[in-house]
Symmetry: C2
Subunit: 451 residues, 2 copies
């Protein structure tokens, strides 16, 4: 029994480790084109902000540890160029050695996602970076270490763009953030976006939304980012306009693709080809709220899907329950989170919904130290079912977004959420927790519309 | 239509306000024996720790505001001495005025709970305090303001005892905590109790458990607390050994009592007498986990039950969903929370369960600033259903206890919890949130027991 895994980051190493753990007799081979394995890519902005830290600190477990401690045949620098699902083989090109063909009993795609680089003149100039792989991080860190960079332009106002705006500001750079959409954080509601914009402004990050970049040029003074509205000078440019699934290898093997070009999988992480699984950022997931397949590449899902694929590859029968699209990030002192559906998910599914915004204190007012939280709930006006939640504030956001995520998993209504028995103690929460107040405000908004 | 409410703190004022809001034509009369209304009793330890703050800062809304802004006939200093549910009248004794009888169409008991004072020699000496009402807080604050007190003994190692150990330590007193049970926090699991004990020790609080107090005496050097093991000198003694429901007035009116002597109510907060409701610390609640009636006097429940009773009194048909016994507190830098069943609830219901303890990091290790969280889950070994959770750590406890509370409300199994889609961002949580790790450890423990 031979299990072959393509890709050695979160999903790949979770799959390989799970297969190994469940079946000591299975031969587990992981093929990785690069040389970095099992690193926490989400930690890169925080590593980059600290000149004293080595980028390799982000490696959770080294290739040697996987080989020796876990008994996994991990082959780095081995690129898979083709998959034959009929012959059950993969074609491998190792660095500095002749290509070879490897047979498999079970195959797991864990090929991840890549940074999307728009077809933009000058995007390949020196000083223009993306941030996806550990190598990307190392290159950017080296550029910062030189000390010559004082001005950065970030293209893209999503999670990575915002986290990097903080990171580069902390490194002493003057940061300009350019977003093509009319607002930062497309898909987030106005009160949340406003909090983020205020936070960026307070830290001196210049934000230009609705700005379409036409080209990047290099002159004597460094790089220039040209938009339809203005030009921005920079010593370095970070392109953070999204990611795409690495599904070409699977597509080449006639494996079906699904949501947004990711590899189609069922709950068992099985693809359309027999004995072939996919997990992580290259694969789609079931959205438990809409019931539809979606592509939301996140580390949490990658780890969980990897486990499921690895277990099933060695004969288990486990399922991935799906996601509710929970995500959170921090930008300077502001925590932001979301779960479930927002306007973009609604328009993709053609579903109608109602929104209700509210603002709450994080603690009992008598205790003091009260931070303000902004919350927007999305719900079905007919059934009252909660469909999504977004929240921003300086503390306690992640925990409350997780409460909403749990409520979404249980298909709770606003009434269910409003009657939750949540913790109260003056230093920790007000007597009516922000979750309960948000639900009560939404109940009123729903009654108002129905009334 | 006249609604009479007995008691003017959390449940009473919630009930009166709700009745007023829903029925502008109803006459709403609140009878309160004392002079303090609508105060946040839970905030007292934090108010007491700050000499600069006035105890009246804890008043959320004054009697005058209720009367003028809300149009509620709030009568302070009016003690109800008897209720006649057949005649639908209450007997009232106002301060400095002749007693009178007041008829009602609907009556709401919101008589609260009182500090339990054990029948102990010397418990009525000067310098011995309880902490329940705002007056209790004012008395203690005045004693502290004198500045003469340097040594405090606290009887009782529950929430209030622990919060006051912090409060009095912050005021510069040397604090000794005496608990009769073998451990602090009876009902909490060993790993949680250990964290609390370590925290108290780090802040110089002396803890004596398994110590039965025989008497309190006063001599030249101040008070002495005598236990079977030792004597403790003190300038002030705080008795914090629990509370009891104020249900004697209801019992005197032949209204049925329920769990632990609290007034029996159904989901509509109706008592056994027609047109008579009860809400808050004087009333029992439905435990959604065990399906049994329990008495867990907490401010959150008081507010919610008050609303339900007030709404139903003026013709609405609302229900209180019940509780899952969620509670949290902070002692120095440690957050502690619990929800659902623990060993004491299990023994009360005769139910068997399994426990699994685990320890998790609060953040991605690559980010740093990782705090350790201790979690104990209680679950049904047969069905895998989650029955309870306890957690201690320096951050992020309340939010995670609320996730477990939500999971309990939805009757989730360990598998359901382990597959929740929770927020991940290095500054906020590790890729496997502590909630997920705790569930996975419990799954393994369950499998181990099932073999």
């Amino acid at each position: 029994m031979r299990v072959v895994v393509i890709g050695a980051v979160a999903a790949g190493m979770s799959a390989a480790s799970q297969a190994r753990r469940r079946d000591a007799s299975a031969e587990v081979i992981v093929l990785e084109g690069g040389h970095d394995v099992s690193y926490g890519a989400c930690g890169m902005p925080y590593n980059l902000s600290d000149p004293a830290r080595d980028i390799d600190d982000l490696v959770v477990m080294t290739a040697a540890e996987f080989r020796e401690a876990r008994g996994i045949d991990l082959r780095t620098g081995h690129t898979v160029t083709a998959v034959d699902t009929a012959a059950k083989t993969v074609a491998v090109t190792p660095e500095g050695a002749p290509p070879y063909t490897l047979g498999y009993d079970k195959l797991i795609f864990a090929t991840g996602a890549r940074a999307f680089v728009p077809p933009l003149e000058g995007v390949d100039l020196e000083g223009v970076f993306v941030l996806r792989s550990l190598r990307d991080g190392a290159r950017l860190k080296a550029a910062l270490a030189g000390g010559g960079a004082t001005r950065a332009v970030i293209l893209g106002g999503g999670y990575i763009g915002l986290e990097m705006a903080e990171s580069l500001t902390l490194r002493g750079l003057a940061v300009t953030l350019v977003e093509q959409a009319p607002t930062l954080l497309p898909g987030f509601e106005a009160p949340i976006v406003k909090r983020v914009a205020e936070t960026l402004a307070a830290h001196g990050v210049a934000v230009h939304t609705g700005a379409r970049v036409s080209q990047i040029t290099r002159g004597d003074g460094g790089l220039t980012v040209h938009t339809d509205a203005a030009r921005f000078e920079a010593d370095l440019v970070l392109v953070a306009v999204g990611v795409r699934p690495n599904s070409a290898l699977a597509e080449g093997a006639a494996i079906a693709l699904g949501a947004r070009g990711a590899i189609a999988v069922n709950a068992r992480c099985e693809t359309s080809a027999p004995d072939v699984y996919a997990a992580g950022d290259c694969a789609e997931s079931l959205d438990r709220v809409s019931g539809q397949k979606v592509w939301v590449p996140l580390g949490t899902t990658a780890n969980k899907q990897g486990k499921v694929a690895g277990a099933n590859a060695v004969g288990a029968d486990t399922s991935f329950a799906g996601i509710v699209s929970t995500a959170a990030f921090k930008v300077f002192e502001l925590e932001v989170g979301r779960t479930g559906m927002g306007r973009s998910e609604l328009s993709a599914t053609g579903r109608e919904a109602q929104f209700a915004a509210s603002n709450q204190g994080s603690r009992a007012s008598s205790y003091g130290h009260v931070e303000r939280l902004d919350t927007v709930l999305c719900f079905d006006p007919d059934s009252g079912r909660l469909l999504g939640a977004q929240m921003a504030g300086r503390e306690g956001v992640a925990g409350r977004i997780n409460v909403f995520a749990t409520a979404l998993s249980a298909a709770m209504t606003l009434d269910d959420v409003a009657s939750l028995d949540l913790a109260y103690a003056p230093p920790l929460a007000p007597v009516y927790d922000p979750v309960l107040i948000a639900a009560a405000v939404a109940q009123k908004a729903r009654e108002g519309r129905r009334g």
